[in-house]
Amino acid sequence: MAQVLVVTSGKGGVGKTTSTAALGAALARDGQRVVVVDFDVGLRNLDLVMGAERRVVYDLIYVVQGAVRLSQALIRDKRIETLFLLAASQTRDKESLSDEGVSRVIGELRQTFDWVICDSPAGIERGATLAMRHADLAVVVTNPEVSSVRDSDRIIGLLDSTTEKAKRGERMEKHLLLTRYDPVRAGRGEMLGVDHVLDILSIPLLGIIPESQEVLHASNMGSPVTLSNPTSAPARAYSDAARRLKGEHVPMMVPSDRSTLLNKLFGRRAA
């Protein structure tokens, strides 16, 4: 029943944590029970993006090592009651995450939640492979830029070879989330277009998130963009992607912030 989803990319800074928070919040707002799990041990940031940095007492490593119960480490979101966070440790190193311990914790989370969303660290080292190991499906976050596309291709290879699902001979479900997309520049041929990236990576498209100031604003405020400004272009794009994850058919489009332009015309400050 529960779906374990890994948000991964290979390259850093493409929007894994932003996407984890935004998709998690969108799914939880629709009534799903969601936990977002930060696997970036030593460089945790999901707590900050979720606005829960001051509420972290116990983290993933405490639970993996059996020092505390899972319920003691789960942080319930203040805005949506079906949304939870399991933070990464900031001080311990990632070697403290044992394979058996992670496997047990993911198993326990499956019992409680509809969605277990694992925010992968950048790179292809142990932290990244551990985050994807137990996943049922993967969201590959990619920017329309050569280095990001290349790293995504590498990550797709790892998803098809190192995960438990791949080792059982099953097909790993992978979805492309194209972030920081500028339809105007892509239309002018200055930026890799959706078709270019899909042609190269050959995995189904989950959503196109337009480049937007709202994303920085949301992280400044410690709120997933789908909650901080649900009508903004990136929030609508993430909400559509979340509905597609649930199996709904939503026409693919790139939302734009037209209302923001109108606000500017009328001399009001965009929220």
């Binding site: 290349r150 002018r188 041929g189 200055e190 930026m191 890799l192 190269i200």
Partner: protein
């Protein structure tokens, strides 16, 4: 000049796509054995270098992986002692009297 610049900018996405396609075709076929090519290159260079002076930049190792058979291609450019046109030693078919200091 300015117009040319703008035109070039507007084709850069296509250029990026082509570069990625070529690169990834290579990386996907090399797979997990991506170290194989540089290792082969070094070792082949060491063996040939014992008998012939070879410019390291003139050695190309290529591995094309097919479904049934893979093709390993090694191109080594060997200078001739008399300064004539450089001889081209290809693949495993290295002739006994390849141009060089003497019999290999």
């Amino acid at each position: 000049m300015r117009l040319v610049d703008i035109f070039a900018r507007r084709r850069s996405a296509k250029f990026a796509q082509q570069r990625l396609q070529i690169l990834l075709m290579h990386e996907r076929t090399a797979g997990t054995q991506s170290d194989l090519i540089p290792i082969l290159r070094e070792e082949v260079l060491a063996v040939i270098g014992r008998h012939v002076t070879v410019d390291p930049d003139k050695v190309r190792v290529k591995l094309e992986r097919g479904d049934d058979v893979s093709m390993l291609e090694i191109d080594i450019e060997v200078p001739t002692p008399l300064g004539r046109n450089a001889a081209f030693v290809r693949s495993a078919e290295i002739p006994v009297h390849a141009a060089g200091r003497g019999p290999i």
